[in-house]
Structure formats: C-alpha cells, structure tokens
Symmetry: C2
Subunit: 387 residues, 2 copies
C-alpha cells in the first residue's frame, strides 16, 4: 500500500519546507555519493559487495546498488527476501538461520523463482537440525539453494564456534543434493561499534585467524570454501584488505547514523556522509526547553538518542527523550537560543536500521535539506517484514 | 492494506501453534477481562474513561471499549485521529499540541466531519501562538472544536506551569468563537512508572493541588472549567478518587506490559493481566544460549527488554538483547534447561505502545496461549501514523 497521502505529507516536486513532520528524509545527493564511494572501495579491493537490505528494506534502493555494482543483497528474514525479489532483486542471501517448516517452504518457492529468473538464493545454517529441515524443504519442492555455514566469530549470537563443529556442518551440507555448500558466514556485529579504529582492527585480526583456520579444516576434508562473507560498515576496511573475505555485507554506509559517526574513522575507510534524517517541528517552547513532534515512534533509540543537526553554532540543541511522540530540546554546547514554534529541525538517528523500519516510506530530497526539492518517495517494501 | 498473508502467517480458526513467528498476539480472554475491570472501576468512581488509542492504534479496539462504556478515545497525532474516525469512533480527543497549518486544516475537516456524525473533536493547547493558529484554521473551515489547556504537572514536557499562565491561555481560548474552552489537560507521564504505590499517591496529591489551584484561578475569571482530564494506567486510582478529575485517559491497562507489571500494585487498582505477547521461536541452540527470532524490530526496548513467559519453573529463561532480529536466551533463576530448536516462546514486551506500532496487525487468540485458537486479526490502523 502506498502510505495514505494524509499521513506522509510530502509531494514530489515540492520544496523541502513543505514536508510535514515527522518524516524520514533521505538526502539523495549524499546517498549517491556514499554509493559511489562504496562501489569504488569494493572495486579497489577486488571484493564483491552485497549490501544488507535489513537496513533500508527498500527494493528500489537494493536495485540502485546493484546498478552501481553490488552483486545483490543480504536480508535477515524470509519476508524481506520475498519483498526484495518482488521488487526485482535476483541475487539474495538470507544471512540468518530459518528453521520453521512454514518459512522453509517459502524459501524453497523463492529459490525456484529466483533460479528461473537467472538469479539465486542463499541462506545460512548453524545446526544439523537446521540443515536437515532445510534439505527436507528443498527436496519437497525440487529446489536447490546455496548454503553458508555460520561461525560465531565473537558476536556470541548465531553460529557454531570456529573449528571442528563448522567442519561437521559443512560435511552435512555437502551430503544433501539440494544444498550447495557455498562457504562461510562470519560476521562480528559488536565489532562494528568498537570506537577505536585500532581496536576494531585488532578484533577483526582475530576473526580472520579463526576464519582461516576453519577454512583450512574444511578444505582438508576435500570441500572447497569458495567464499567467506561478512563485514559491516564499521570494520569493512579490515575484511576487505584481508584477502580472506570475498564479499562485504555492509549496509549502513548508505545512510550512516549517529552511532557509526561516533566511531573513530579508520583512515582506510571511505568518508561516508549522513544521508538519513528525521524532519521534525517545534510544537511548544517553554522556559528551559522546546518540544518537537518526533519521539521514539519516529526513530529507534536502541543505539542512543538522535543528534540534532546544528544549523548555526548559537542554536545548537541537545535532543532529550520525551517518550513515544515528543523530543525535549535544550541548548547545547555554545547554543543559547531555543527555536520558535513551528521551526523545523533535522535529527540524525542513532541507528538507521530500526529507524527505517518505523516508516512506510522515505522522502527522497535533492538539493540539500535547506532548500532542496522532493525528488521521489521511496517505499520501505519490507517494513514490518518480520517472519 | 491488509498485511500480506505471507508476512503474517496466522489464519483465523487455526490453533495457536500454527501462528508463525515473530507475531504480536493478544490473549482476547485476558483483554476482555481487563476491559470489564476498567469499565467497572470507572463506573464505581463516577468518572468517564477515554482510553488512549496511541497505545493500541486500532479502531476495532477503540470501538470495543466504547461499547463497554468508554466515552471515546484519546490520540496524540492528527493522523491517529483520522484513522480512529475512519474506523467508526466519533468522540476523539487529540491530547497533544498541533501547530502545523497543514495539520490544523486536517483537524478542522475532522472536527466538521465528527460534528456532522453527532460526535466531536477536542484538542490540547499550551501556547498563545498555538491558540492563534488553531482558531485561524477553524475559522477558515467554519468549524468548531473543544479545547483543553494543558498544564505541566511534573512531566516537564508539554504544558504551561499551573497558575496564571494557564489562566491567560483559557482567556485566549474563550475569546475565539470557533474554540470552546473545555477544561484542563493534566497528565503526569513519569508518575505512571514510579515503582512504589505510596510514591505515586504522593506525587499525584501534589498534581491535584496544582490542578485545583489553577481551576480556581480560571473560574475566578468567570470561565467554567467543566472537565479535568488525564491519568494513566499507573496512577489512575489517585485521579479517579480525587473528585477533581472527571475523565481518565489510561490506555495500557488493556494489554499491560512488563514495565507496568514492575510497579507495586496499589490496592485500589484493578488487577489487570498481561494480554499482549510476542510469539517467538528458537532458531539456534548453542552451548550456553538459545537464539530466538524476535529482536527489537518485533518489540520496543525503551522501557527495558521483554520478559519470557515461564512455562515451567525449570525452564525459566532470561531474554538478552540480540539486536534487531534476535533475542539471546539464557537459563534464569531456577531454570537450567535450554529450549530446543523450533520451540515457541512468549515474550511480554517492556512497553506496549511502541511495540504495537511495529506491527500491522495483532493476532487475537481465544482459549489461552497453550492451546487456543486464532479468533480474529486486529488491524493496527494507525501504525506509523506520525503526522
């Protein structure tokens, strides 16, 4: 469903000032520069990039990156894969475990469909039971799928430990005719947010040792490990330079967020720009505070509150938690003025992924946030696609 | 748009076990008991109840409570008011400030429409500028609206301080023919979550003094204060017994959440039950942890992580943050067993309002979570209704 116009309040061709609030706005100029930098980075390092669509959840944006050189996209959920396929993406990797028979039947249908389009579907596994169920579903549907064995390289979430358990799983995958062992999934989510560049390099150095060791053990069994896939926007310079990772899954570089901006930039990292903003409006001004109309139904707060984009130094504002529907703005650093009622402000979300998931659409703007124009409305196709 | 069936994976008439995960499930038996207790409570205290629809965002649930005796509903956003009106609710109060001319034009259209249906629309104000804009929009549309002056009784968010500033606003409202001064909005959001029952009573006692004082000042100007409206599920026993509040806005009682359950129950408070759950499923089991498929794209974490509903004492589990798409479950208290792959679990969300806002639909179940049946799918009409 296109979002009801009365909810979105943004019209293509009209000025930025007319976008009603709150709205999730993409600075398309900044976004395109981020895409070009990422494409150039991957080309320079000779690695594939498969940006994670769990972040933007939009088939239009996934296709845009394929046109810029991406191999396809990653997703976390079966329903996200379906949304991306329906929107014209043909090479999709579910970088997560799926075990429900209902969902695996859908995975099989999708694998069939993508193969028929000349594309393909891949998925991750981390258990014998998961492999058994996946193989059963694929056999039932006479479908085939690429399978990555996930190893836990420090996230302590999904994946088996590097080493013999991964070999056991690789061998189990190789036993099933419908499953094609495609390599290793090795993603360290927490490492993305380590603040120091050297700290991230040190952490990923250990990850790479674990990956190399595991790969050697699997190959000693006569099973080729064609690809190691992983990496996020925080550590991708390490994986790209490793000679071990063949594919980068970074997604957040497209929009950047306040949390990634808080990282010390690695000198090897392209300079990505903030491209995602919540446009909000002041609805009240009181003695010591201004109140805006964006709360945590407009932006996620799991990685901290949003930052207020400073328009000029004497009006810098700090965003305080005002609950689901409000933000509480107070003068900050050199700031000493409160904005007037009706004044528009721009928030940089703490975490882009769950922020995008709150919105049915992104308002794409050209020409900057001050005086730009709405170029297009980008559907968040997989918003709420949880299953 | 009805959510695509492949995303929702719940069929009316089928058993609870068949609901695919993650899904937001309402225990309809518990919910109806909560409604009956609230209706009885309001009747006993001779107060109106106008449950807040910002919580459930569903016109069906708003109507259900009107049938049980509620006067109508509250909302926070113009788009929520539009969704409730479109779904057959005729008496709506926007308990928040609206200042954007675009939105005020929509408010005027809605006021007209509801009046034509024999219903009405009300709104809150907390500034002269807001009153001026509201009056202008209503005059432009030849519409009229009920107006509550919001006083800040301790939340430090919206509202003017109790006392003379509120009188100034009441007089300003009374000057405009299109605006009907209806009383005071006095809601203390933070007080809802003070853990001790006595602490909440003490806090609301001060609120009530402020309200009474402000009311006296306004009435001394010859302006009647017909109604004081406010109260949430945490403090409503205090406002209900005050003789000052004529209307309760509590909304969370319908579903309850882990945060409200953490309050010490006031003996005067009806015993509300948890009625909202995220059904999730174990997708991986590792040495020290099980991984489930619900993360903070399935439930809000602003008021803490969800609790795992304990099925039996030796399998009690604690939910740990696994990011956007995962939960990390570890044995808890007496628990010493990890659940198997595919096992279903039920999470009690920390905060119901922003959790509901993540979902397009609620799966309504009769007969309990163990062996009940899906009775109906409840649309979250105002999901994402931000403007």
């Amino acid at each position: 469903m296109p979002p009801p116009s009365e909810r979105l309040q943004a019209l293509v061709g009209r000025g930025v000032a007319e976008i009603d609030t709150p709205a999730l706005v993409v600075d398309l100029d900044a976004m395109h520069r981020n895409v070009a930098r990422m494409a150039e980075f991957a080309r320079k390092h000779g690695v594939r990039w498969r940006p994670h669509a769990k972040m933007h959840k939009s088939a239009e944006l996934a296709r845009l990156m394929v046109e810029a050189g991406a191999i396809g996209c990653c997703v976390q959920k079966t329903a996200e894969a379906e949304a991306m396929a329906a929107g014209g993406v043909h090479d999709i990797y579910i970088s997560n475990e799926v075990v429900a028979p209902h969902k695996l039947a859908r995975v099989a249908v999708l694998a069939h469909q993508l193969a028929a389009e000349g594309g393909r579907l891949a998925i991750a596994v981390d258990s014998i039971e998961g492999i058994r169920r996946l193989a059963q579903a694929m056999a039932n549907a006479h479908a085939a799928i690429d399978v990555f064995v996930e190893i836990d390289v420090g996230q302590n979430r999904c994946g088996v430990p590097p080493g013999p358990e991964a070999v056991t799983l690789a061998k189990a995958v190789a036993e099933h005719a419908a499953l094609r062992f495609a390599g290793l999934q090795a993603y360290h989510g927490r490492a993305q947010h380590l603040r120091g560049a050297q700290e991230r390099r040190d952490t990923i150095a250990v990850v790479i040792e674990d990956v190399v060791h595991t790969r050697k053990l699997i190959e000693a069994e006569g099973i080729a490990v064609e690809l190691v896939t992983g990496a996020g926007s925080g550590t991708m310079v390490c994986e790209a330079a490793s000679g071990v990772y063949g594919e980068l899954q970074a997604g957040s570089f497209l929009f950047m967020d306040a949390d990634y901006a808080a990282n010390e930039r690695d000198p090897a990292q392209p300079q990505f720009e903030h491209a995602l903003f919540v446009k909000t409006q002041v609805i009240g001004v009181h003695k010591d505070r201004a109140i805006c109309d964006a709360g945590h139904k407009s932006h996620a707060i799991d990685s901290g509150l949003p930052k207020v984009l400073a328009v000029d130094p004497d009006s810098e504002l700090e965003y305080g938690n005002g609950g689901d529907e409000h933000g509480i703005l107070r003068p900050f650093r050199g700031g000493h003025r409160l904005p007037a009622i009706g004044r528009f402000l721009w928030l940089i979300p703490g975490h882009c992924d769950p922020t995008v998931n709150l919105h049915d659409a992104l308002v794409g703007v050209r020409g900057g946030l001050r005086s730009g124009t709405v170029e297009r409305i980008i559907r968040v196709d997989a918003r709420g696609a949880l299953t």
